[in-house]
Amino acid sequence: MTTQFKLHNVVKRYGSRTVLTIDQLALPEGRIYTIMGPNGSGKSTLLRIMGLLLVNDEGELEVLGEKVNWEKEQLLQLRRQMSMVTQTAFMFQGSVEYNVAYGLKARNMKSRLIRARVGEMLEMAGMSAYREADARTLSGGERQKVALARAMQSNQKYCSWMSRLPTLIWPVQPK
């Protein structure tokens, strides 16, 4: 069982304030983890570092078995194996289809294949009816579903989801 994530002496500061200190953290694959804690305890910070959106000030970070050197080639390669759904479920300007297709287009998938895959992902999320809708007209819950569908790419090794509990209760169609 390979270890997906390893953190060693990781520290993150904002100015003079230390917001995160992790001595040791190792997360093997094949499991679902929940991070819980009071407000301001550094949950989002930890997830953002692990999601390669934030650079740690000290310590080592290992993601998917690789030591992170924060070079853009490595970042791109690692990011394309992960995905993240944020609290706000930010939607790009445009339709639901545009949003869900975004990751696929970024990976230079062929248009015909994208259209098919988008259909699958939307059905999985139960949002097929909203395919042509303007993404900004969706309610919070609907946005979260679209964001989840958007984040589910092929070859995903890791997916994280930041939200306030409980946000959403919906049956997932196992694939």
Binding site: L76, S83, T86, F90, A106, R136, T137, Q153
Partner: protein, 239 residues
């Protein structure tokens, strides 16, 4: 009051008659200002985006400089370009003085800072989510940048319309570097100055109305284009 009525009548008459001189002057105004706008967009949009996104030493000073240049007096821009292009000046050998190219040059000096500054602001107003979402979905740096610009496009269009409004209506720069030469470098604004100076007020007003109508039409076109790309009205609804 009757002067305005005279002016309107004369304006309609000039357009109706397709008076060749008015047509030429109008076309030249459009060509000069649109070319200046195009060049300013090519310079200003990337510069504005870079200013907003890149870590640059003294970024605040750069931004402040751009904001100040947004208010550059047109006649001063004209004078600076004039001094560059005069025969003994640094660029004198190109013999560009009193040509439409000189006018475009001067108007770019006016428009580019506006495009740059307002683009920077539009990009700076975007939430971090834009990049985060793009990056975590697997966008490369280039793809993420394109997405950022796409999200900022309303602000960028506003930058372009503002810059256009500035240059189509200015007279100080084009008068100095163009010379208001008949059939050659005379545009709508310099025509207004000439007619006013000669005491032909109704003609001056007529030309002014043509200028305003032109502005209106062009902005309408831009608005129509914008409407097509945004199906949902994003503004705040007050009940």
């Amino acid at each position: 009051m009757s002067i305005f009525v005279e002016g309107i009548k004369e304006g309609v008459y000039l357009i109706w008659q397709m008076d060749p001189e008015i047509i030429q002057v109008t076309l030249l105004s459009l060509q000069v200002s649109l070319t200046a706008l195009l060049l300013s967009a090519m310079l200003g949009i990337p510069a504005g985006a870079a200013l907003a996104l890149k870590k640059i030493p003294g970024k605040r000073i750069w931004l402040n400089t751009i904001y100040t240049l947004m208010g550059l007096p047109p006649v001063l821009a004209g004078l600076l370009v004039y001094l560059l292009l005069t025969y003994r000046g640094p660029l004198g050998q190109f013999e560009l003085l009193f040509t439409p190219s000189a006018m475009v040059f001067a108007q770019v000096l006016l428009a580019a800072p506006i495009v740059c500054g307002l683009t920077a602001r539009a990009v700076m107003a975007l939430p971090q989510d834009v990049y985060d979402t793009a990056a975590t979905l697997g966008a490369s740096r280039r793809q993420a940048s394109a997405t950022i610009m796409r999200e900022a496009r309303i602000g960028i269009v506003a930058a372009l319309t503002t810059a256009f409004g500035r240059v189509i209506a200015e007279v100080g720069a084009v008068m100095l570097v163009g010379g208001n030469i008949r059939w050659s470098t005379r545009v709508l604004t310099t025509s207004i100055v000439l007619e006013t100076r000669m005491g032909n007020f109704s003609t001056a007003i007529a030309i002014g109305l043509i200028l305003l109508s032109l502005s209106f039409l062009i902005n309408l076109l831009i608005l129509k284009l914008e409407k097509r790309t945004l199906r949902y009205d994003n503004t705040i609804q007050i009940t």
